[in-house]
Amino acid sequence: VTPVFARRLHFVVGKGGVGKTTVTAALARMLARAGRRTLAIEMETGGRLPAMLGTSASIGTPRQVTPELAVVSIDGRAALEEYLGLVIPVKRLLSTVFASRIYQYFVAAAPGLKELMTVGKVWYETTRQEGSRPLWDAVVVDSPATGHGLQYLRMPQAARETFGAGIVQREAARVVELLQDARTTAVHLVTLAEDMPVTEALEAHAQLTGPLALPGGAMIVNRVHRRRFAADVLTTLERATAAAAGAEQALLHAVADRAVEETSWAVINAQQIERLRAGIPTTPLVELPYLFAEEFGAEEIDVIAHALEEAAALPAARRA
C-alpha cells in the first residue's frame, strides 16, 4: 500500500472552521518543498487558498507560484460550459444556449452536473501527461466547507448510477476509478479535537470509507493544545496570587487563568484524540499544534507544513 502522503491525488475535507484551507496550503507547500511538482486546487472560486499560497486566484488555468508549486481555482459552471463546448462543437450557437433560461433550468435539473465537471477537472489535471510522465507529481484539493465537501466526491458515483447512458456517464466511470484507487488517491479529513467536531469527523470517515468506498488518507487533527501545568505549580501560583497586591496580583491572576485554560484544552484535546484513535485505529493520525499568533500568515503556514513533513516522513522525491 502506498503511504498516504506519497500518493498523487490528495483531497482535504472537513467541516467549516476547522482550518481545512490552511491544511491544504501547508500540505501543498510541504509536498513542493519535498521536490514534487505540486498543484493546489480549490474546488470553488473565491476561497482563500491562492492568497495563502501568496498569489491571486487563477480560474481554470494553473498559475505557477514557485517552480515546484502551482495553484488553480475551478469554477464548476465554466468547467461545464468548457466541457459542453468540446462535446457540441457549434461554438457560436452554444453561447446563445448558455445565456438562455432553458439552459439555466437544464443545469438546475441536472444537479451535480456542475459538481461532476469540477471533479472532472481535478481528474483532468491529475492525469495530464508531460511526455511519458504525469505533469504533476502531486495534486492537493481544498474542498468546499458545506457538508464536509463530500458532495463533490459523491457526485461521480451518483452520476455513474443515475445519469442515462451518455458521454457523461462514461466519463464519470473513469473519474470514479481514479478516486477509488488507493495507489493514487487519499482523502484526508481535518478536524478539531473537540467533542462535536470529532463526532462529525468519525461520521464523515464512515461515509468516506463505507458507502463512498474512497481511500481514506490521514485524520489531521488541527489546533492541538499540548502544554499542561502540574497541579502543585498551579497551587503555588494561586497562593502567591493571594499574597500579592495591585498590578502584580492582577498579572499573577491572569497568568494562572491562562495556565488553567491551556491545561483544560490540552486535556480535552488528548481525550478527543483518544476517541479518534479508538474509533479509527488503522487511520494515520496527524496532530498539528495550536498556533498562538497575533496574525495568521505565511510563517504560520510554514510551521504547519513542517509539522506535516515530520508526520509524513516522505520518501525522497522521484525526479526525472
Binding site: G16, P111, V168, D195, T241, L252, D257
Partner: protein, 381 residues
C-alpha cells in the same frame, strides 16, 4: 457598550435571526437567546437547520421534529431554571419541508405526481437556496401564526451566510411566471418533434445536451411545472411576504462571529451585503474571544513586557516552574491582542450604536441548558 445593548435589541424585536459563517457557535447563540426569551416570560420558538442536532442536545431533546416541540419542564427544573413562558424548538429538514409545502399547497390529485417527479426530487434536495428558502417560509408561518412572542432563527451554515438572504429572490427568479408558463405550453410536453417546429436551432442543441449528459431533463421539467402550476399561483405573494418579514421593524439580524481573521472577513462582507439588501444587521455577538490583560494605567505595569512578567512569576513560583508559565501567558496575550485589534477594526466599520456582545472562549462545549444560561451574563449583561 454605546447605544443600546443586545438585551434591549432582543426585547424590542419579535424575530431574531442569527447569521454568520459556519463553526462560530451560531446555533449555540440562537439557543441561548431563545432560552433567555422563555426565562423572561416570552413564548419563544427556536428554529434551526443544523444537521448536527446540536440544538436538540442543548435543549435536552433527543431529536427535533418538523413541528415545534415544547421543551419539557423537568429539563428546566433539572438544570435549576424556571422559565416564565414555554420554549419550543424545531428543526427544519429541507426535503421534508418541500414535501410539506407540496402537501400544503398542491392540488390533491397532483401531489403524488409531483413527489415522484425526478426534477422535483433533484430540486428539493439540491437547488441552491432551497434549504434557506424553506427556513424563511417556515419563519413566516411561525410569525404569522401569532402563537409566539419571540422567534429565534438559526440560519444554515453557508460560507457567506448570504444565500439565506437571497434565497427568496432566487426562488422567485427560478419560478418566473413567464418562463414557467412557457414550459407548460403543450408543445413542450409533446416532446422534441413539436419543439423542433418552433425553434430548430434551440431544439437541436438542447437535444444534443440531453444526449451528451444522458439527462432527459426537459420532459421532466415540463411535467414538473405542469403538475405544480397550481402551487405557484400565489408563490410570488408568499415571497413578497417573506421579504416583508425579513425587512420588517420587528426583525433583528444578529451576526455571530469569532475574532479570527478569516471569520471576521466573512462577517464584514455579510454586513455590507445585508445593508445592500435592506436587511441591516442590528447586533453583533463576538464569540470565543480570548481575554487580554491590559496595562492598568499609564506608566503602570506592562503585561506585555516579558522580562518584567518573568520577574514577577519567578518570584511567585521559583525559577524552575516560571518559564513555561511565562511563555504560555505571552502566547495567550499575543492571541488576544490580535483579536482585539481585529475586533476594533470590525467595529469601526459598523453603524455607531450597533450593540456588540463579547462572549469568552469557554473551555468546554456548551451543550446543556445550564451552560446556555451561563452565556446570558455575556450576551445580556
Amino acid at each position: 457598550m454605546t447605544g443600546g445593548t443586545l438585551r434591549d435589541l432582543v426585547a424590542r424585536h419579535r424575530v431574531v435571526i442569527s447569521a454568520g459563517s459556519g463553526g462560530v457557535g451560531k446555533t449555540t447563540v440562537a439557543a441561548s437567546i431563545g432560552l433567555w426569551g422563555a426565562l423572561e416570560g416570552r413564548r419563544t420558538a427556536v428554529l434551526t437547520i443544523d444537521p448536527a442536532r446540536r440544538l436538540a442536545s442543548s435543549l435536552g431533546l433527543e431529536t427535533l421534529g418538523h413541528e415545534p416541540r415544547e421543551v419539557a419542564g423537568e429539563i428546566f427544573a433539572a438544570q435549576g431554571l424556571t422559565p416564565k413562558a414555554p420554549l419550543w424548538a424545531m428543526m427544519l429538514d429541507q426535503k421534508g419541508a418541500w414535501d410539506a409545502l407540496v402537501d400544503r399547497y398542491a392540488p390533491p390529485d397532483a401531489r403524488a405526481r409531483i413527489l415522484a417527479n425526478p426534477f422535483y426530487q433533484h430540486l428539493s434536495q439540491t437547488f441552491a437556496g432551497s434549504q434557506e428558502y424553506m427556513a424563511i417560509e417556515q419563519l413566516c408561518l411561525l410569525v404569522d401564526g401569532g402563537a409566539y412572542d419571540l422567534v429565534v432563527v438559526d440560519t444554515p451554515p453557508t460560507r457567506h451566510a448570504l444565500d439565506f438572504l437571497e434565497a427568496p429572490k432566487r426562488i422567485d427568479d427560478f419560478l418566473d411566471r413567464s418562463v414557467v408558463k412557457w414550459f407548460v405550453r403543450p408543445y413542450f410536453s409533446a416532446g422534441w418533434s413539436a419543439l423542433r417546429a418552433v425553434n430548430r436551432t434551440a431544439s437541436f442543441l438542447l437535444h444534443r445536451l440531453e444526449q451528451a449528459t444522458g439527462v432527459s431533463a426537459l420532459a421532466e421539467i415540463s411535467d414538473f411545472f405542469a403538475s405544480m402550476s397550481g402551487l405557484f399561483e400565489n408563490f410570488h405573494e408568499r415571497i413578497e411576504r417573506a421579504y416583508e418579514v425579513l425587512r420588517g421593524p420587528e426583525t433583528a439580524f444578529v451576526v455571530v462571529s469569532s475574532p479570527e481573521e478569516q471569520v471576521l472577513d466573512d462577517a464584514e462582507y455579510l454586513a455590507g451585503k445585508m445593508a445592500e439588501l435592506r436587511m441591516p444587521l442590528k447586533g453583533v455577538v463576538m464569540n470565543r474571544v480570548h481575554a487580554e490583560l491590559r496595562r492598568q494605567k499609564r506608566g503602570g505595569f506592562d503585561p506585555d513586557d516579558e522580562v518584567a512578567v518573568a520577574e514577577v512569576v519567578t518570584r511567585a513560583v521559583g525559577p524552575a516552574a516560571a518559564p513555561p508559565l511565562v511563555e504560555n501567558f505571552a502566547d495567550y496575550q499575543a492571541l488576544a491582542r490580535g483579536e482585539q485589534l481585529r475586533m476594533e477594526q470590525f467595529r469601526a466599520g459598523l453603524p455607531k450604536k450597533t450593540p456588540l456582545a463579547v462572549v469568552p472562549n469557554f473551555t468546554r462545549d456548551v451543550h446543556d441548558l445550564a451552560s446556555l444560561a451561563a452565556m446570558h451574563t455575556y450576551l445580556f449583561g
